[in-house]
């Protein structure tokens, strides 16, 4: 029996696609790396996913789970071929307002969850800029962040449980609505594992009550450093706003051309801050942020009064990457994170790198978390520029690590940063991570070759050579 015949026997012919045009469509995510899948499947529930896993194991073929494909690190690109498993058909939402939780199918779009939850006065905190397209399954796989994760944490802080298909097609439910489930926190390891440990089919997520009041501040500065220093000063003044987002002038101009949100295009940097809570709390907090901004040479400080104005400012922030298309046909969006105290000097160094390589760089990022997103706009059809973009990118990552930072704040490792993992971790650290991967996926079918660089497993540690399990992909 062929792979496709086996899959069709379980899923039906229409849910196993092999048309070249479809294979091409699912051959990459939002990164630049493309693979060549054998087929694309659309299972409807955990039972069907379990069948796909068993068939993949029997045929020694990889499975790459995929939501909307908005990932930027090639985590969902089928670079080793095999089966692309699209989660979109698993799209049920079951809200439990009393416990402020929801069971959500992996294929549910992030924004759709909050749209349903709002009827109960609740929302899902992680809000990546791609939230109108990306799925909850993808958020779980990447431990996605977003502007509002500053005070509430990334996806991992909001996943209380999950239904997941493990190796051998075993379906388990981990965690639940009660706090501190006994035993090892396996779901904690699965969140952010980019589909390499198993396939999450449903997630039990925490929903937060919508705060009674909110203030959104728009502040402009004569330099990026002034804006970055404001961010550091706000944090050290003991305030953790709901969001603190920074845009540089190039980015502001690009967005303004596109959206006309009323952003100050003549300023060198714009800071967007948001505080939420009770009315008597947000007022003084907003005033304090404005004061700190003024001390750091802020030009104007505008506090968005209406719901519409707020929505427009956030639309401007979240549309930033879409606005790039006016400048150049391609862009390379980086993601790195540094301690917040090193933000000012890191930003300077990042601009220096762009200047040295003569590249057009724009910045819009989660300043409050120290999470940088330098974006290089370029034309990928020119191989000479390609090489410069790549080199500049590596330098930026290196300088962030040198500042005590990490490789990725929210986009993931995938293939893009896999080979940089050695700069972030020791051999023993990587070996421990490789052991985790092996325990979950002894036959190596779940999104192989992602996250860990080749040879992460130190087989010689302790002088004992380990036996490889049957069928392992090495």
């Amino acid at each position: 029996m062929t792979l496709v015949t086996d899959l069709r026997a379980v899923l039906g012919a229409e849910d196993v696609m092999v048309e070249p045009v479809e294979l091409h469509l699912y051959s990459k995510d939002a990164s630049l790396m493309r693979g060549q899948p054998t087929c694309v499947v659309f299972p409807r529930d955990a039972g069907e996913v379990a069948e796909v896993v068993r068939i993949a194991e029997a045929h020694h073929v990889p499975i790459v789970a995929r939501g909307a494909g908005t990932g930027l690190a090639a985590g969902a690109s089928p670079t080793e071929g095999g089966i692309v498993l699209v989660t979109m058909a698993m799209s049920d939402i079951e809200i439990d307002p009393e416990n402020r939780t929801a069971w959500v199918g992996a294929g549910v779009i992030n924004l759709d969850l909050s749209k349903v939850a709002i009827a109960h006065g609740l929302y899902f905190a992680p809000d990546p800029s791609s939230q109108s397209a990306c799925t909850i399954g993808g958020n779980v796989a990447n431990n996605s962040g977003g502007p509002h994760c500053l005070s509430e944490g990334s996806t991992t802080s909001h996943v209380l449980g999950m239904e997941v298909v493990l190796a051998g097609g075993e379906i388990v439910v981990l965690g639940g609505k009660a706090p501190d489930p006994p035993g090892l926190d396996l779901k904690g390891a699965i969140v952010g594992s980019e589909g390499t440990l198993g396939i999450v089919t449903r997630a039990l997520v925490r929903l937060l009550p919508i705060d009674p009041d909110v203030r959104t501040l728009l502040m402009d500065f004569p330099s990026v450093e002034d804006a970055a220093r404001t961010v550091s000063d706000v944090i050290s003044a003991g305030l953790v706003p709901a969001a603190l987002e920074l845009m540089d002038q190039r980015m502001v101009q690009a967005v303004e051309n596109w959206l006309q949100a009323g952003l100050p295009t003549e300023a060198a940097a714009v800071l967007l801050a948001e505080v939420v809570g009770e009315t008597d709390g947000v007022e003084p907090q907003a005033r304090l942020i404005a004061e700190i901004a003024k001390q750091n040479r802020a030009g104007s400080v505008e506090i968005a009064g209406s719901v519409e104005h707020r929505a427009l400012l956030w639309k401007a922030r979240k549309s930033a990457f879409g606005a790039i298309a006016q400048l150049a046909p391609d862009y390379y969006l980086h993601d790195a994170v540094v301690p917040r105290t090193r933000l000012v000097e890191t930003m300077k160094a990042v601009y220096d790198v762009a200047d040295r390589y003569d590249l057009t760089m724009l910045n819009v990022f989660h300043a409050g978390d120290g999470n940088l997103h330098p974006l290089i706009a370029f034309d990928a059809s020119d191989p000479e520029i390609n090489a410069r973009v790549h080199q500049a990118g590596e330098e930026i990552v290196a300088l962030c690590l040198e500042a005590g930072g990490a490789l990725s704040g929210e986009h993931g490792i995938g293939i893009e940063k896999r080979d940089l993992m050695r700069f972030n971790f020791s051999e023993l650290d990587l070996d421990a991570q490789a052991r985790l991967k092996e325990v979950f996926d002894p036959r190596g079918v779940f999104n192989p070759t992602k996250i860990l660089p080749e040879g992460s497993r130190c087989f010689d540690f302790g002088g004992v050579r380990r036996e490889l399990p049957d069928g392992v992909w090495v």
Partner: protein, 363 residues
């Protein structure tokens, strides 16, 4: 072998509250921890890791051969107040560190009345602050861990930044793992600012507490509901008025109920009030509303079986944190994916010398 047994003998100490029959050591460096664990792994010696002894009642552990106190690994490596992060040895006492952080109006968001509890101990036992409904649990505060595995490897996971998706999150697995994957030797934690205003407000019942959407905590101790507020002074003042109960300035945290038997009842949050109505007669309690955590004490285990079977049928757990494991099963229903958990532990502690018997499901 790069060490001599004498190096281990030199680390011998007396730990008054720990099992006396065991060889008691207090490593001074991470290298000492590696050596002790290799020594014990090679000889199949069971090691009980000792923090402050506050949470040593979980599970059904065998008599240890070694007790390893982490008290000397208590250095603050870096504290970046402006970054709201700290890197600290796992043996540091929560009380000591909180005292230091208070000078800059910051907090670990760990248990409010920690006694002798250490940071590493609280992380390993998965114990959280009473403020967790607003400021999240201990799990969400751990940004990085360095662990020494049972066979003596130093493994670091996470990073010293507040947002990070680099690699697999072994540091999350370490929370609540009772040291089964490794002894936590140092951690980087996400701190939180403590605003100037705060109040503790006694209210008539839970309905009155609902006037504030996200208070710092809503607790109930033996029938008395208390709302904890924190923010600017003006904010706390108006919220106190809105709640309308008897208020005191500052945060007056209750102690955990104590007894020969102690319990942690973990329920879906909406079932908390029902759980309190089902407690056996005379069990003192401290309930964290909105979270579903209820801390309990009792003189005996009578009534615990009924409470557990109801809790489990309602999606919760009744965990014994202190008592006699020969009389009552400390954990109840085994957790899911036991095979995966067992194989994971085998990769990190192949001889199973680290705190065996602490976890549920015979792990």
């Amino acid at each position: 072998m790069t060490y001599h047994p004498a190096h281990i003998s030199w680390l011998q100490v007396e730990i008054p509250a720990a099992p006396a029959s065991a060889f008691q050591v207090a490593p001074k460096t991470v290298r000492d921890v590696e050596n002790i664990l290799r020594y014990c792994s090679e000889r199949d010696l069971v090691v009980q890791v000792w923090g402050g002894g506050s949470h040593s009642g979980f599970g059904s552990p065998p008599e240890p051969d070694f007790v390893m106190s982490m008290e000397r690994l208590d250095d603050v490596e870096t504290w970046e107040p402006d970054d709201l992060t700290i890197v600290v040895g796992a043996g540091a006492r929560i009380e000591t560190i909180e005292g230091m952080l208070a000078e800059r109006n910051q907090t670990l968001v760990m248990p409010e009345r920690p006694g002798a509890a250490t940071i590493g101990g609280v992380i390993a036992a998965g114990i959280s602050s009473l403020r967790r409904g607003r400021l999240y649990s201990t799990r969400e505060r751990v940004l990085e861990t360095s662990m020494v595995t049972g066979d003596g490897r130093v493994v670091r996971s996470g990073g010293r930044v507040v947002k990070n998706v680099t690699g697999y999150d072994l540091h999350r697995l370490a929370v609540g793992a009772f040291g089964s994957l490794g002894v936590i030797v140092s951690v980087c934690l996400k701190l939180w600012p403590t605003p100037p205003g705060s109040a503790t407000v006694l209210v008539d019942d839970l309905d009155h507490a609902a006037a504030i959407v996200r208070p710092l905590a809503t607790l109930e101790v033996d029938g008395q509901v208390m709302v904890y507020l924190q923010g600017t002074e003006a904010e706390v003042e108006t919220q106190t008025e809105r709640l309308g109960g008897k208020a005191t300035t500052g945060l007056d945290w209750p102690s955990n109920p104590t007894g020969a038997w102690e319990w942690s009842l973990r329920m879906p949050p909406a079932r908390t009030t029902e759980a309190l109505a089902r407690l056996p007669e005379g069990w003192p309690y401290l309930a964290v509303h909105g979270v579903g955590e209820v801390r309990l004490a009792s003189d005996s285990h009578h009534g615990a079986e009924e409470l557990r079977s109801w809790a489990e049928s309602a999606g919760g757990h009744l965990v014994m944190s202190q008592g006699d494991p020969t009389l009552f099963d400390p954990w109840g229903a085994p957790p899911p994916a036991l095979q995966v958990q067992r194989r994971l532990i085998a990769e990190f502690d192949p001889k199973r010398i680290l705190n065996p018997g602490r976890l549920p499901g015979g792990l």
